[in-house]
Amino acid sequence: MIEVHNISKSFGDRNILNGVSFVFEQGKCNLIIGESGSGKTVFCKCMVGLLKTDGGTVLYNNRNFTSMDFYERKEIRKEIGMLFQGGALFDSMTVEENIIFPLSMFTNKSLEEKRDRANFCLSRVNLPNAASLYPSELSGGMKKRVAIARAIAVEPKYLFCDEPNSGLDPRTSIVIDELIKEITYEYNITTVVITHDMNSVLEIGDNIAFLYKGNILWKGNKEEILHTGKNELIDFVYATKFLKEFRKKIVK
């Protein structure tokens, strides 16, 4: 479980997060949704310590991450897997080397064991024959799947996914969503997904926070989101002309 209390962050005069609080539950897909520029990625980066917060606390299973020094944070980070928007795979390494890399850094497993783990993770994300390929040889969806494989290789307790569906076609997006959902339930991990994709929200949103101009305006789950009364959220959920027409029919 991750608890965030009163996180605030600004860049110069621009306030990005204004005292955001939320509880990310274990074994569930926790979604932070919002429009582009609402502060979702900044929120995520503050949680994993890539950005320094101006105030507030982040607790990983009651361990205060914000007050830790560099070396204490490293211990928590070993429990974190993260899927970046572009995959962030290491270009100079093959897919297998990418997955083995965190294992080599933090475990004393033999090469054989590490390879077995890499193959298991690759088959878990349905890419059993991609081990020898380089990231430049992969499609966008494959990169995301390899990034998930790398993230789960170290058996993380917390999985962060920053816009896992960005740049993907709807079918591949569904595959990625399914994968995130399965991994979350299978390993009982705390998953945090940053997205503005409504299909993902309705597919995997067990616990949702709607971020609007640096504040959490609404909390709920995928069943509740369709019946919200918040105008800002209605505009977000029913953004397209088709959905607007659909909502009018429902309301009637």
């Binding site: 890539l50 490293k74 980070r77 970046f84 928007q85 572009g86 290491f90 270009d91 170290v154």
Partner: protein, 246 residues
């Protein structure tokens, strides 16, 4: 003020870069890879430049030593001194700053803008240490060898082209390069080389590490890395010469 800000940021980055490695074997392997790519990969260009540098110094010296009072072996002496004291350590380091410096800055800069450095950090890896330390250690270790080879090839180039163009005889040239040879000259050159190697790799890594933006900024970082490395090499060349030779 801006200069002080950058200097402070650079010192803090170096402090992180030379922090305790996560796993020594991986850093060792990484250093060997860097020795190959930064050092062995630069041998070709260093060799070509050295041979022709030696040749030009020999020919220039012979054309300028027109007085009958100056013996012909002075051509060999001038080539030796020029190559060992300045051309090999300083000019080759300036060239390496262009080749190696831009490569380091663009490599680390690209990793920054594609979130690969963030990925390392989130994994719990000290990205500064993992990316910078092996490069610095590799250059500090291998550059003196490159410079020694450059010295040899420079003096050899002077001899070869001196004979081929007929400006100096083999006997006089060899007598000249041996005349009043002080081994401290080589030590001085190697001390400079080590300092320059540290400057090239650390300054370039600094510019790459703090790249912010996209492809355009990676290009800018790469240019800045070369420009600042070159300026610092020249400044430290003056300081070290003053310290070690006066």
């Amino acid at each position: 003020m801006k200069l002080l800000h950058h200097f402070g940021k650079y010192v803090l980055l170096m402090k992180r870069a030379f922090g305790r490695p996560e796993k020594y074997t991986i850093y060792y392997r990484q250093s060997i890879t860097e020795i190959n790519s930064l050092g062995i990969g630069s041998l070709g260009i260093a060799a070509i430049i050295s041979v022709f540098m030696g040749a030009v110094i020999t020919i220039q010296s012979s054309f300028n030593f027109t007085s009958a009072w100056i013996p012909l072996y002075a051509v060999g002496l001038a080539t030796r001194q020029g190559i060992i004291l300045e051309f090999a350590p300083t000019i080759i380091s300036l060239i390496l700053a262009g080749k190696v410096g831009s490569s380091i800055a663009s490599e680390i800069g690209t990793m920054r803008v594609t979130e690969q450095i963030d990925a390392l950090e989130v994994m719990g890896i000290n990205s500064a240490s993992y990316l910078i330390m092996p490069k610095v250690l590799a250059a500090v270790f291998i550059n003196p060898f490159i410079i020694l080879i450059s010295m040899f090839l420079g003096i050899f180039g002077g001899w070869l082209f001196g004979i081929l163009t007929g400006v100096v005889s083999s006997y006089e040239y060899i007598y000249g390069i041996q005349y009043q040879f002080k081994p401290f000259g080589v030590t001085y050159a190697l001390i400079k080389t080590v300092v320059f190697a540290f400057i090239i790799t650390s300054v370039s890594a600094y510019h790459g590490y703090y790249t912010n933006g996209g492809a355009l900024e990676v290009g800018r970082s790469s240019t800045k890395a070369v420009v600042y490395s070159n300026i610092l090499i020249l400044v430290f060349n003056f300081l070290l010469t003053q310290l070690l030779m006066s």
